[in-house]
Every structure is written in structure tokens, then in C-alpha cells.
């Protein structure tokens, strides 16, 4: 009974660990976030560009040291089809880490970015807790495995949701592009043919061929 309780507590403790933020990065600007992370803590940053142009953004993670020194951990230009949008690292030192999404390479398009940080805060600890007998050790391990699996599941669901939003945006944009394109094309064709007629008339009238 106690073990079921432990499983339940572990499962729920896991789910509160993912915090996601969705925001817009204006062209020619960047948005930065600061996070305190302890040494040797396994950190995962998942990010998606939901909308805007080629869905590209410059992603950077740096460790802030004695001002003005900054130790760059990663700086990459993220493209939709080339990168996974996931950065996993083990924090080299305790300190403030700066996570930036840079849209300065874009002149007109704003980008909507969504990111989340998951931190493995070593909640399992060392040793098996109070479990002494073999029977309980197995249960403990199962509980931890279950909790990790639920953690993965939550992340997958989050990823699916972000992709759904991204695809929905793209499809809606495509649909309105088709409508606008048809109207523009018909108008241009009409105008061009009128212009042709008018030019020909003028051509003959000036020359006074008649």
C-alpha cells in the first residue's frame, strides 16, 4: 500500500517539472531568459518556432561568469528541417545560465517561439531510501522507471502540441495565400490585357495608317 502511495507521489512530482513559455520575438531583436542551475545537473531545453518566415531562430545558451565574461555553451542557427530543437547538457558549474532566442537576422518577420526547460534535480538521490529487502528494492526501481516513463510521456505530449500549433499556422497561411494569389493573378491578367488593347489602339491612331 505504501509503495503505491510512493509511486503516486513520484508520478505527480514529475509532472510539475515542465514549465513552458510561448512568446514573440520581434525582428531585429532577441529575447533572453536567465536560469540558476546547479553543477552537474542534467538539463534539457526543448524549443519550437511556431510561426514566422522560415521558422528559423538563433539559439544560444551561455554561462554568465564574472562580468563581462560569458562562457558560450552553444550557439546555433536553428532551422526547421535540420535541427531537432532540443539541447541537452550537463551544467559545468553552479551559476546563472542565459538562454537567448535571437531574431536579429530577420528584417520584417516576427517569430513566435515556445520553449521549456526540464531539470533532472537528482530527486532519486543515492541509495534506495529506506528499502532494505530485495522485494522493496524492486518495487522502488519500478516506481522510478514508471516515473521516468511518465516524464518522457509528458514531454512527448508537449512536443506533439507544439507541432500541432506549428502545422495549423502553416496550413492557415497557405490557405489564405492561395485565395490572395488567385485574386491578384486575375486582376493582373485583366489589367495587362486592357493595357495591350489600349496600346495597340494608340499605336494605330498616332500613325494615322487609316
Amino acid at each position: 500500500m505504501v509503495r503505491i502511495f510512493a509511486v503516486a507521489v513520484l508520478v505527480l512530482a514529475v509532472l510539475a517539472n515542465v514549465s513552458a513559455y510561448t512568446f514573440q520575438v520581434e525582428p531585429k531583436s532577441q529575447e533572453c531568459f536567465y536560469e540558476s542551475i546547479g553543477k552537474d545537473i542534467n538539463t534539457v531545453i526543448d524549443y519550437h518556432v511556431l510561426r514566422g518566415g522560415l521558422l528559423d531562430i538563433r539559439f544560444e545558451v551561455a554561462l554568465e561568469q564574472q562580468y563581462p565574461d560569458v562562457k558560450l555553451l552553444i550557439e546555433t542557427l536553428h532551422f526547421e528541417d535540420q535541427h531537432s530543437g532540443r539541447y541537452e547538457f550537463v551544467a559545468p558549474e553552479t551559476g546563472t545560465y542565459r538562454i537567448c532566442f535571437d531574431n536579429r537576422m530577420s528584417r520584417f518577420t516576427a517569430k513566435v517561439v515556445e520553449f521549456s526547460i526540464s531539470v533532472n534535480d537528482g530527486r532519486w538521490g543515492t541509495g534506495g531510501g529506506h528499502a532494505k529487502s530485495e522485494h522493496f528494492k524492486n518495487m522502488d526501481q519500478q516506481a522510478r522507471q514508471l516515473s521516468d516513463a511518465v516524464d518522457d510521456f509528458t514531454r512527448h505530449q508537449h512536443y506533439l502540441r507544439a507541432r500541432e500549433i506549428k502545422h495549423r499556422n502553416m496550413i492557415e497561411e497557405t490557405n489564405s495565400r492561395v485565395v490572395i494569389w488567385s485574386i491578384v493573378e486575375s486582376t493582373v491578367l485583366f489589367a495587362v490585357s486592357l493595357f495591350q488593347i489600349y496600346t495597340l489602339r494608340r499605336f494605330f491612331e498616332i500613325r494615322k495608317v487609316v
Partner: protein, 198 residues
């Protein structure tokens, strides 16, 4: 346990001077319960302005003068909700380039529910409470997947509408092209006949 505050809560800077608004957006379905909190270090010459707006730009929540607070609301309609932070200076002169780091937490659904209340109301033992939480979580996951399915359906419809619109658009432009060409030829023929050139 680590010595830090709540793990995995990043801070973002809100520049002083009130010119820049830092906004976050989140999609909620109707009747979702949303709770959250924000926290900023106190400052002598400015206060933090926080507001929540729904997709029709109605104010759902407004809070000035508070550097730290909790909030809670129920989403009246499905759509995008925007959470904005602005710095409002108390004096007319502010330090250039300074900014405050704000911590912001947002939860919805099962995470937002107050289970201690449920426990006292229904007289549940701690283990039973955890079971109830798990069960409601499973329900929420189920509902989330149903929502995914309905959204996938809507996308499928939009996609096939785009598909047929592309076809009709091509046929339309083809038709316009051919008819304009024929009209031009007809008009020119009439014109030259009138001018006795043909």
C-alpha cells in the same frame, strides 16, 4: 534537495521605463482553470504592471503596483490568452538600460486544482487523495488526446479546402487567360475592320 528556488523556473528581464512590454501567450480550451504566480525583486522607482487579455482583447486580469502575486482565472472561451508585464516608473526619470528579472509560473488543468480542499471536503486519506489525483490526471490526458483528434480533423478539412481551392484557382486563371485572349482578338478584328484595314 537543491538550495535553489523551484527548479526549472527561468527569469526574464523587464526593461525599466515602461516602453517595452514582455508578453507570453498560451492556448486554452473553454472552462480550463489557469493559475500562476509572478515574482520580481522590489524596486524603489518603479512598479510592475501585469495584465491578462483574452483573444478578443478583453482584460481578464489587471494588477499594478504589486511585485509579487498569485492569480487564478477560468477561461471563458477557447483561444489564445496573453500575459503581459510592463514596468511603470513612479518618477519621470529612470535609469537607462536597467531591468528587473521577473519569475513567472503558469499552470493549468490538473496542476491548477486545489486538492487540499477536495481532501477536506470529501474526507480523503492522503493515499486516497493521490489516487484521485492520478485518476483525474488520466482523465485529462484522455481529454487532451480527444482534443488532438478534433484539431487534426480541423486541419485535415483546411488542408483539403486548400487543395481544392488551388485547383479552382488554376482553372479560373486559365479561363480568364483564354477568354481575355479571345476578347482581345475579337476586339482588334472589329477595330481593324472599322478602320478598313482588313
Amino acid at each position: 534537495m537543491t538550495a535553489f528556488r523551484d527548479p526549472a523556473l527561468p527569469c526574464f528581464p523587464v526593461p525599466a521605463g515602461g516602453g517595452v512590454e514582455k508578453c507570453f501567450r498560451e492556448e486554452y480550451t473553454r472552462d480550463s482553470v489557469v493559475i500562476g504566480s509572478f515574482k520580481a525583486p522590489p524596486s524603489a522607482d518603479s512598479s510592475l504592471q501585469f495584465k491578462i487579455m483574452d483573444s478578443r482583447a478583453n482584460h481578464v486580469w489587471s494588477m499594478n503596483e504589486k511585485d509579487e502575486s498569485d492569480f487564478r482565472f477560468t477561461a471563458d472561451m477557447s483561444g489564445n490568452y496573453i500575459f503581459c508585464f510592463t514596468d511603470s516608473p513612479k518618477l519621470s526619470i529612470t535609469r537607462e538600460g536597467s531591468s528587473r528579472l521577473v519569475e513567472f509560473k503558469l499552470n493549468s488543468g490538473v496542476e491548477a486544482k486545489d486538492y487540499t480542499e477536495v481532501a477536506t471536503q470529501e474526507h480523503l486519506a492522503p493515499l486516497e487523495l493521490e489516487m484521485v489525483k492520478l485518476s483525474e490526471l488520466a482523465d485529462e490526458i484522455n481529454q487532451d488526446f480527444k482534443y488532438f483528434r478534433s484539431r487534426e480533423n480541423a486541419m485535415q478539412r483546411t488542408s483539403s479546402s486548400t487543395h481544392s481551392r488551388a485547383l479552382w484557382s488554376s482553372l479560373l486563371s486559365l479561363g480568364v487567360l483564354v477568354s481575355l485572349g479571345a476578347a482581345q482578338v475579337y476586339y482588334l478584328k472589329r477595330f481593324f475592320m472599322a478602320k478598313k484595314l482588313i
